[in-house]
């Protein structure tokens, strides 16, 4: 089981610099939801190099820093990603998704409409664990 509390290093309001989509880590994971009536996306971005977690909301075009994963946490996330399919799922009106980038190249993309249509349990479980972590961050 993913031990959320262990991996969190909360940065609070400390912001070294304003995050920018143009300066994302080359190795990173995007996950979140997209589509729907608004055709919007709500995307969390975890940097593989430093564990920083950003949130991008397409409707407001805001990119904000929400927290940070420690090294062990980053390693576990990306280790679990490796067990997932490189490409799976079909676009639907509303999707959950994973997108993994290595050297700024999209190397893994999984999308699914509901837990029942996730490609496998591991995919859904990683999504649930990460979202549980995001909930904790958002509640702080």
């Amino acid at each position: 089981m993913f031990r959320v509390a262990l991996f969190l290093l909360l940065l609070g309001q400390i912001m070294a610099c304003r995050p920018s989509l143009d300066r994302l880590s080359e190795d990173r994971l995007h996950f979140g939801t997209s589509g729907g009536f608004a055709g919007s996306s709500r995307t969390y971005i975890i940097s593989a190099s430093n564990g920083k977690i950003l949130l991008h909301e397409s409707l407001t075009e805001e990119l904000s820093r929400v927290g940070r994963l420690n090294k062990e946490g980053v390693a576990e996330v990306f280790r679990r990603l490796e067990s997932l399919p490189d490409k799976a799922g079909a676009a639907a009106n509303h999707n959950a998704f994973f997108q993994q980038f290595t050297d700024n190249q999209l190397v893994r993309e999984i999308k699914w409409a509901a837990p029942s249509s996730a490609p496998n349990t591991a995919t859904q479980q990683l999504f649930e664990d990460l979202m549980a972590m995001m909930r904790q961050l958002n509640e702080m």
């Binding site: 939801t33 409707l59 799976a88 009106n93 999308k111 349990t121 979202m131």
Partner: protein
């Protein structure tokens, strides 16, 4: 090219220095019968009817279809045999796919009755156009259905040697005379596809089972609860671009709550595709009135009286109502039911409601997610409830009420019984949050139910909008009908139809705003999320999420991923949205909704794109209101106004007609002299010049110079103004076989003897020439050989001087054939020699058919004439064709070679012919305004005449401005060759204000848009057929034109 020392063509005239020696001229087109006859060298004018031998129109379809595909281009089309006459095929300009055939082949006549036999006859007649070799074996006909307007439709599925294509979907539509149109997307019959799998069924099943890591061997009693076997594999054909792949489609239902599909290559074992299915909400009303997610089969059937409890069932009838405030603070009456003192959001008043004592169905049910997320496993919404039937939240009132209004819309206006059309429950889920716990700024359809968030930053209260409910319910209707794939253009159509029905459900005529009742106007400053009539929505451009394109000129070509809206489905929907808004404004909502619903439910299919939508809407309008009706015209106008498809195309730019004096240049049949006549055939010079003419003369557009090869193989130039005959070379060589001059007189193309596959292009301005080698492009046929090119014969320059149109003899294993190609020998942008790219007129010329002697219309380079030759039957059929629309006519059936040539105003064609008595004449026949349809009877123009060429002595602009070219810009375009995504990086350039345009090699625009200030711009190329293209990037600093190869 040392033999061409100088040949400068200027407005002032030509200066020539001549060279070289002599060789014998070989006869050309050896496969065509030699027709050199010693007839009169003194032709006179004798207008009168001629009765050429008319041959049987029928040509038998051939087996062994040539899969010769080229890239998408206005001049590349599938070969359409003459027995399809009476029909117009429509090809997708983006990928070359056939998507519609309108009309009934003349050969069929009227059907005795509309039945499957007529459908089969229709499909057989169209088999070549469809690319289906054995219609009877490869197409499976569904049942004939009728719509409420009296139209009849039939669904077609496709198979190959008994193996189904899982992605194909098409329909036939009947008119008064029988089946008369086709819409959808079928795939050409595979060639040499091995349908014996080398990767076994059990191996595929094992692979899929292994990848379904949540597998549980279900006990026997639970197997009955899932929607099919726990593991099953079916052999299918999977189409990947142009490649047909034998595959296993494996369905796994590893447990009660999941269902996956896998497409596995049946030869390699590679997984080509895998995706999950959203499972149903089980409508078992348990003690807590919770529905649980499950992949059970037809779950309502499992809900027996015993399971539900008789009190629940009894309490459903009669329904109870409540009058409560909604999110507009308006009182609405909602239908609920009571159970043991509690009240629930279940509407049992709709005509679909059924209670047979054992099963209940046909309910509108509204659930409360209470902040849960359907993306999480623990999602467990409860049926909305109240203990007093008065404290319903305003959100509950809006969601439940709006579901009823949307249901009523589809039932009342379209007689549609619920979302699935079969009386299935309508499920709405309110108070949905994001999986991270935040308030959801969205609403959606997940394949089973409508979900509503309560808004966060961009929206206030999404359930407030009736158009939101209409939009989401429409997604369900779309899923149950056309089932438009949710990406790129089909996905944008999916979104567009959802907006359209959202607007119609809201029933506020003329208010084409979508989401206006739910948005936060601090975010959506225009006051609405989308505006169907004005899709730009007051925003500056594509970089603004509030903006949508209003016209195909603004189309956004985006990669298919979550970051890019699955290829811009919510972005490009602005274009068809505006088409609808224009149409509805013109004809009214009541007419528009009937037309669009019929188009959606009967004419569109999963892969339909924007062009299909135009055809579908126009056909639906035609069925309801009649061909040529004001409604049909309004539909055509609406789509034309946004740049979507249509017979006229968007690329049919005509040149101004040459205003000079008109003449006809010709030879006698023996080719021993040149003659000049008036346009009506009255001879002026008899002869103009006594010279043996061994190649058909070619004339500059201003009528000043004619070039040809003489009987000693020398290149000759005749000045029609000064009546001077000269040599083109200083020291004439004698090994030339043919020569044509560009319209502006600056370049020639020539072929030589002995016969080979080269064409010499010589530029008089630079005094440089190159030999271009002819080949048959194989970019899209997976390496299937299309034979070697032996030599070219007839040639003609395109008006702009970039392309050379030619016919060439190719040798294939199945025999030799002539066909027509276009070679890019000059680049007007760089003002230099072209890259030699070759485009073929047809992608699938059948065996035994040859085409040749092509000629352009004078003022419309998308109109050509050529001859179609069946050597076995000695038929020389003169065909006129609009290469934009692929519409064509048999202009004349000839017993001899036609050598067609258009009149100066494209109002006639002159051609070689024979009278019934066997006398050779130059014949002429008038053309209709469409420049392809013959008018009136062919008549003799000049007895004894041969190789007629109209010309006029005026000057006109044939050129386009040559922009400044960017060099050393540092702008990067990669990868090249490209597969799915092309990247554009600006280097040192500023891309502010820069635009891109992806063109065919002939310059036809496929995509264009703004680049903007981006670090790297991504351009999706996945929908393009393999082949060569041009990417034109226009920046304030200049223009870059980059050739691209699509893999």
């Amino acid at each position: 090219m040392s033999f061409f020392v100088r040949f400068i063509c200027t407005s002032a005239g030509l200066s020539l220095l001549l060279i070289s020696s002599l060789q014998a001229q070989e006869s050309f087109k050896p496969h065509l019968p030699a027709e050199v006859q010693n007839q009169s060298t003194n032709p006179g004018t004798m207008l009168g009817p001629i009765n050429p031998e008319v041959r049987d129109l029928l040509i038998q379809p051939r087996n062994g279809r040539d899969l010769f595909q080229t890239r998408t281009d206005r001049r590349t089309a599938r070969y359409q045999p003459s027995f399809d006459q009476g029909t117009s095929p429509y090809y997708d300009s983006d990928n070359g796919q056939l998507y519609a055939i309108i009309g009934r082949p003349d050969i069929l006549g009227a059907a005795a009755r509309i039945d499957k036999l007529d459908a089969l006859a229709y499909l057989r007649a169209l088999s070549e156009t469809l690319g289906i070799e054995r219609v009877d074996q490869e197409l499976v006909l569904g049942a004939i259905s009728s719509d409420r307007f009296g139209g009849q439709h039939l669904r077609i599925s496709q198979q190959y040697q008994g193996v189904p294509f899982w992605q194909s979907d098409a329909r036939l539509h009947a008119g008064a005379e029988g089946f008369s149109s086709y819409t959808g997307r079928l795939f050409p019959s595979p060639v040499n596809l091995d349908i014996v799998p080398s990767f076994s069924r059990s191996a595929a099943e094992e692979l899929a089972k292994r990848r379904s890591d949540d597998w549980i061997d279900l006990p026997a009693e639970q197997l009955a609860w899932i929607s099919g076997p726990q593991l099953e594999a079916e052999l299918v054909i999977h189409q990947d671009n142009d490649e047909a792949i034998l595959a296993w489609m494996v369905q796994t239902r590893p447990n009660l709550s999941t269902h996956h599909s896998f497409i596995i290559d049946a030869h390699t074992g590679n997984v080509l595709n895998e995706h999950g299915h959203v499972c149903r909400f089980l409508p078992e009303l348990n003690a807590d009135h919770h529905h649980e997610v499950s992949c059970t089969h037809a779950p309502i059937e499992n809900a027996t009286v015993d399971e539900l409890g008789s009190t629940v069932v009894q309490s459903l009838l009669p329904p109870t109502t409540a009058t409560v405030l909604n999110l507009f603070n308006q009182f609405v009456t909602i239908n609920v039911f009571s159970d043991q003192g509690n009240f629930f959001l279940a509407d049992a008043t709709k005509p679909m409601f059924m209670d047979d004592g054992m099963q209940i169905s046909g309910l509108l049910l509204t659930y409360d997610a209470a902040g849960g997320s359907p993306q999480l496993e623990n999602f467990s919404p409860s049926l909305g409830s109240s203990s007093n039937n008065t404290d319903w939240t305003r959100t509950a009132a809006s969601v439940h009420s709006n579901a009823g209004i949307a249901f009523d819309y589809f039932f009342d206006e379209h007689q549609r019984l619920s979302i699935d059309g079969d009386g299935g429950d309508v499920l709405s889920i309110m108070n949905v949050n994001e999986p991270d716990g935040s308030e959801m700024d969205n609403a959606f359809w997940n394949g089973q139910a409508l979900f509503y968030g309560n808004g966060n930053q961009a929206f206030n209260q999404l359930p407030r909008g009736l158009d939101v409910a209409g939009h989401e319910m429409a997604h369900g209707v779309i899923q149950s009908t056309a089932d438009l794939i949710y990406q790129e253009q089909p996905g944008a159509l999916n979104e567009s139809f959802a907006d359209i029905f959202g607007y119609l459900v809201e029933a506020e005529t003329g208010d084409f705003r979508i989401g206006e009742d739910a948005v936060n106007t601090q975010v959506f400053t225009s006051g609405t999320m989308r505006n169907m009539l004005f899709p730009n929505n007051g925003a500056a451009g594509p970089q603004d999420f509030r903006w949508q394109p209003a016209h195909m000129d603004e189309y956004q070509n985006l990669p298919v991923n979550a970051d890019n809206d699955n290829g811009g489905v919510h972005i490009n929907s602005g274009i068809p949205n505006r088409a609808f808004a224009l149409f509805a404004t013109e004809v009214g909502d009541a007419v528009a909704e009937d037309v669009y619903y019929l188009a959606l439910t009967e004419f569109l299919t999963r892969s339909s794109r924007f062009a299909d939508a135009r055809i579908g809407v126009v056909q639906a309008a035609t069925q309801i209101h009649g061909a040529g009706s004001a409604v049909v015209q309004a539909a055509e106008n609406a789509f034309a106004a946004v740049g979507i498809g249509g017979p006229a195309g968007d690329y049919t730019v005509d040149l101004e007609t040459n205003s000079g004096e008109r003449f006809l240049l010709l030879t006698n049949v023996a080719q021993t002299a040149l003659f000049r006549a008036q346009e009506d055939g009255t001879l002026l010079d008899n002869p103009l010049e006594e010279v043996t003419v061994m190649s058909r003369p070619s004339i500059t557009d201003d009528g000043r110079f004619a070039v040809f090869v003489d009987d000693q193989g020398r290149l000759r130039l005749y000045d029609l103004e000064t009546r001077t005959l000269s040599f083109i070379e200083n020291n004439p060589q004698t090994d030339f076989r043919n020569i044509v001059i560009s319209k502006d007189g600056t370049r020639i193309a020539a072929t030589k003897t002995p016969l080979d596959n080269q064409i010499l292009i010589f530029d008089f301005v630079s005094s440089v020439g190159f030999f271009y080698e002819l080949f048959n492009p194989t970019t899209a046929n997976n390496g299937v050989s299309t034979g070697e090119v032996s030599y070219a014969d007839a040639m003609e320059w395109e008006p702009s001087g970039e392309f050379l149109m030619y016919d060439a003899l190719s040798e294939a294993s199945t025999g030799s054939f002539w066909d027509i190609g276009f070679m890019r020998v000059w680049d007007n942008t760089t003002n230099d020699f072209g890259d030699g790219t070759i485009i073929k007129l047809f992608s699938n010329l059948p065996e035994g058919i040859s085409i040749g002697n092509p000629t352009f219309a004078r003022n419309s380079d998308y109109i050509i004439a050529y001859e179609e030759v069946d050597f076995d039957q000695n038929i020389f059929r003169l065909i006129t064709r609009n290469t934009e629309t692929n519409d064509f006519r048999t202009f004349f059936n000839n017993g001899i070679i036609n050598y067609p040539n258009f009149g100066i105003a494209d109002d006639r064609i002159v051609f070689d012919a024979e009278t019934q008595g066997g006398d050779r004449v130059l014949g002429v026949r008038s053309l209709d305004e469409d420049k392809i349809t013959p008018l009136g009877t062919p008549t003799s123009l000049v007895p004894g005449g041969h190789w007629g060429l109209y010309y006029a002595t005026g000057d006109r602009d044939l050129d386009t401005a040559v922009p400044e070219l960017l060099t050393d810009s540092g702008l990067l375009v990669y990868p090249n060759p490209v597969d799915e995504v092309l990247f554009i990086q600006p280097g040192e350039l500023s891309l502010s204000g820069a635009t891109y345009e992806l063109q065919t090699m002939a310059g036809r625009s496929l995509l264009k848009g703004a680049l903007g200030e981006a670090v790297a711009f991504e351009l999706s190329t996945r929908h393009l057929l393999p082949g060569s293209y041009l990417l034109r990037i226009e920046t304030p600093q200049g223009i870059l034109v980059q050739p691209l190869i699509k893999l």
